[in-house]
Amino acid sequence: MYLKGKKALVIDDIAGMRSSMRTTLANLGIEDCDLASTAREAVDKMKGKFYDLIVCDYYLGDATDGQQLLELVRRTKVISHKTLFIIVTAERTQDRVVAAADFMPDDYLVKPFTADVLGKRVMTLTEKKDYFHDVYTALDHDELDAALEKLEPLLQSKNKYWVDAMRMKGEALLRLGRNAEAEKVFDAIVALKAIPWAVMGKVKALKGQNKAEEAQFLLAELLKEHSEYLAGYDMLATLFTERGDSSVAQRLVEKALELAPVTHRQKRVGQLAFQNGDLDKAQQFLSEVVEKGKYSYFKEPEDYTLLSQVHIEKGDTEQARTVLDMVNQRFRESPEIQAQVQVYKAMSWQKEGKPEQAKALLEPLLADPSKVPDGAKLDLAKACFQMDDKEAGAKLAREVIQSNHDNPELKAQTVKMLESVGLGERAQEFVSKAVEEVTVLNNRGVALAREGKLEEASQLLRDAAERLPHNVTILLNTAYVLMMSMEKSGLDEQNIALVDEYATRAETLSPTHQGLPKVRELRRKLGGGDAHG
């Protein structure tokens, strides 16, 4: 009865398994135990209540799995870091599940297991959760610096939690963009044993320092030893995509897909196949994703818009519009998605040889392109080029690039798009120039701030932020410099409001951006206004 007083949630799509798990937990002393049969139900329950323990079966039916659910609730912060999340799997498919995990659960339990074993695991893990209590509190508030501070004393003794503490430190440093330090932390683990997650941490740190080649070499070595480490294939594919080599990337993701058929990877293959002009394969994979997603909690509008683009490219324009109408039905609430749908519908009419219909759809979007998300804006630009409106097309393409000047994948995509509309070799030059403009501007602002010329830096960056309202790096740097300036010369309500506006916008655009924690941290220190968190 050693777990008395703990609150638990059991998630399993099979009723018999749910009640059997509840009995098991009851035998361990847990009286407060809720049940959920689907991911949707589980999320609703988690939103309404704190659970000490969540036991989730890997297979949830409906094309969703426990890993996806875990990622969702951790990423959107629905559950605290203090909550124990245990995934229950069937035998040694475990290693596949483990390998797929960027977000790791606290434990995997392989079926069958006895109540005693579960009880022991939960006790052991609860002790660990208690040990890291303060670190988790900081992480729950996204206070990464505070988390690092709390970790430091725990790292002094090389006890049984040392490896966990090192891992948390490495991950926090990665999120803060302190890649060189993160590399050292993961290196210390790798020196003891080249376990996949530690090697992966090092790879991420190298990538963050623009050492793609070294990262690639390390990954290849890792995959030789751990040929089933799926996250490794995904990462390697990303490295290739960023280099603009999407056909190697496609092969890698296909390999990973063979090892474990997961929806998000199917989608990735579809996406890459589309980029590589392999339209039949793209259609095959994306159709399946859409089909599966129909009943899934995890369906995304992108699944549909990607498929519609494949249909357009193949000339099945009517089919494309049918798919797009499905998006309209299923994701009514978002004006951005609606705008996206209009772009692709216009492209379908254009392809069909009906430019008038296309124009009618595009005009309102071109009048106010702010509602169009960056991915679709690139397609809007493409549509403009196709309709011979080169000026509007170039303007939009530049906007996309300059709003995302540090996103290598989007840059590679833009080059491809420009090549496809006939810019040829000038495509790369166009993109490089657009990037350069922003980089120069940003660097000048940062340099001025470093020299202590905060007024000048603020002014320059503010202008840049007004001109590039979607560039997350600029937004965050501007917010940061504005705060530095206020730290020196006192709070200013207008500037506080501006900082909050920029930070909020940056967070909406890129919730996991590396610059965010630093800005939030300083914002909290500054006080005033309605600092969140």
Partner: protein, 211 residues
């Protein structure tokens, strides 16, 4: 008709039997809770051994095709031993005690594949349970720069090794097929370690794992 790949057929069959076994265990467990007795306990223990065996066959089958993937992570030896003992308890006759002898208390963590290593120890404990008179000792110690797990019993020992005590032999004791040992050797190998058997006032099985 596609060519019959007996290997796949077999693996699928084992898989199915394993799942059915799991269902049977659950029912047995439930029944045992309501009608606790030595008979139900025995059945339950058997069901667990069977399940472990089936899991191991599947692991071996996979290992035959590609090299066995070891998913090592940092584990605290004391906690690990404790968990293995509590799981093993359920496979042993009530008359046989299982004792822990952890001489590696100062070792904070070791990189092992918890799942695979516990399967190895479970095999050894199950085997010891067939010959032991009253107790099994599950131990752990540092040796030659590695970590050594051991399972010792107070039975007659291994008949093919010196120090066998024929007088203590159990009549009509079930003979193993060697499958367990094969599995244990494979898992040790995959960890870069080794297994050994010896007699010292009973049978002693060890699994040595390098750093």
């Amino acid at each position: 008709m596609a060519e019959l790949d007996f290997d796949t057929v077999l693996a699928t069959a084992v898989h199915e039997v394993k799942n059915l076994m799991g269902e049977l265990s659950l029912n047995l467990e439930d029944y045992h809770r309501r009608h606790m007795g030595p008979e139900t306990e025995k059945m339950l223990a058997l069901a667990r051994v069977l399940q472990n065996r089936l899991v191991q066959i599947l692991i071996l089958q996979k290992a035959g095709h590609q090299h066995l993937t070891v998913n090592a992570d940092a584990e605290n030896p004391a906690e690990f031993l404790d968990e293995v003992a509590s799981e093993a308890r359920l496979m042993l006759p009530a008359a046989i005690a299982i004792e822990l002898q952890n001489e590696a208390e100062q070792v904070p963590f070791w990189f092992i594949d918890r799942y695979l290593v516990s399967q190895v120890l479970m095999n050894a404990i199950h085997n010891a349970g067939k010959f032991s008179r009253s107790r099994i000792v599950l131990g752990c110690q540092e040796r030659d720069g590695g970590l050594e797990f051991s399972v010792s019993d107070d039975g007659p020992g291994y008949p093919d090794l010196p120090g066998y005590r024929a007088a203590l032999a159990v009549e009509n004791a079930p003979r193993g097929t060697g499958l367990g040992l094969l599995f244990n050797e494979r898992i040790a190998q995959a960890h870069g370690g080794q297994v050994s058997r010896s007699n010292a006032d009973g049978a002693r099985f060890t699994l040595w794992l390098p750093k």
